[in-house]
């Protein structure tokens, strides 16, 4: 990899890490798993960077890679987690019932998003990252109109989920 590309990679790691991690944290709930997912995303960015031709904005390109890798990694994790899934649900609900405060609301939001269907999860994380409908449509291979319809429906579901047990 040439020095310019290396520099670009360092800039991505420095400036985009939080965005990548936020998306990863929707697809995994334990810190070490989020971190593993994040490493995998970075690894794929590193591999794909020489092929980036600037046809889309670098951020859109990053979101595509992040979403693809998180989704793929999640499929891997689901297998390991299946046996613990029933316990997970109980523990999460207890946490949200017993703890108060804004940080908990934020955690609750991530929890509610993680319970959405995969396509809805992808749409809403990109929306909350501030992407325009057109960019979300480009990343997911949808139409702009459909993205709009999806978002308003998902938001209703999210508000409902957040209000259900928020303190």
């Amino acid at each position: 990899m040439n020095p310019e590309t290396e520099e670009l990679f360092s800039a991505i790691v420095k400036n985009q890490s939080d965005k990548i991690l936020r998306i990863c944290s929707v697809y995994a709930d334990e810190e070490h798993r989020i971190n593993d997912m994040y490493q995998e995303v970075l690894l794929n960015i590193w591999k794909s960077l020489p092929g980036f031709r600037g046809e889309s904005k670098i951020e859109t390109w990053l979101y595509r890679i992040t979403l693809n890798i998180c989704l793929k990694q999640k499929l891997k994790l689901e297998k390991e987690k299946k046996k613990f899934s029933s316990m997970d649900g109980i523990q999460m609900d207890r946490i949200y019932e017993n703890t108060a405060g804004r940080k908990v609301q934020s955690e609750r939001l991530y929890y509610c998003i993680s319970k959405l269907k995969e396509p809805d999860k992808a749409v809403i994380t990109l929306y909350l990252e501030g992407l325009k409908y057109k960019e979300i449509a480009f990343i997911l291979g949808l139409t702009k109109n459909h993205v709009g319809v999806k978002i308003s429906r998902i938001k209703t579901d999210l508000f409902h989920c957040l209000n259900r047990k928020s303190v």
């Binding site: 693809n68 997911l140 291979g141």
Partner: protein, 201 residues
């Protein structure tokens, strides 16, 4: 709750503790492990190709010097088998292309599914492209000079044992690693191509 509050909650999550020098080391290690993995695969292919290349002159020589006709036929067939395996290994390494992560989600998942189906097909067909092309000439070659004897039966048993082991390992790899992944991918692809998700309203 309004939209802005939703955005605020989303952006509130912080990860300062996650990116450290230790992570940088891990990433470096992952990159070098990936390179190592690729090198291991190409070294394994190279090793198989080198063995096949050694077998070609060896069995050509055998075909000339061995007297029994069946051994001669077996040796010639073994040469063809070696050439076939070299061709197959090279062809397979060319088709092993992982999908580009810079695709839209549905394309990317379908790309992975295609990649895994190719791997599955390759492992399923190991009998026809790897085991039988070697096993048949080997049996002919040995039978040519041992004829039907206790030694022939022992060698036959060993050959079948090895062939069965290779076949079994490949089947297990399909059952344990590939099929569950293909199933999970299928389920996710279905969700992404659900008319409710895909159709324009």
């Amino acid at each position: 709750m309004n939209d802005q509050e939703l955005f605020d909650l989303w952006n509130q999550k912080r990860f300062e503790s996650l990116w450290t020098d230790q992570n940088k080391d891990r990433l470096d290690r992952s990159i070098s492990e990936l390179d190592k993995f690729k090198k291991t695969i190409s070294r394994r292919n190279m090793r198989e190709i080198v063995v096949a290349l050694i077998l070609i002159p060896l069995f050509l020589y055998m075909a000339v010097v061995m007297e029994p006709l069946l051994s001669k036929i077996g040796a010639v067939l073994m040469v063809f088998a070696a050439i076939w395996i070299i061709y197959k290994l090279i062809a397979v390494s060319k088709t092993r292309i992982e999908p580009d992560a810079n695709m839209d989600v549905a394309e990317y998942l379908t790309g992975w599914q295609r990649y895994l189906l190719n791997e599955k097909k390759l492992l399923e067909q190991v009998l026809s492209w790897y085991i039988l092309p070697i096993l048949i000439p080997a049996i002919l070659f040995i039978y040519g000079f041992t004829a039907f004897s206790i030694w022939f039966l022992i060698e036959l048993l060993i050959l079948f044992g090895i062939a069965w082991l290779i076949f079994w390992i490949n089947r297990k790899a399909i059952q344990i690693y590939i099929d569950p992944k293909i199933y999970d991918l299928e389920k996710t692809i279905e969700l992404f191509s659900d008319p409710d998700f895909k159709d324009d309203d």
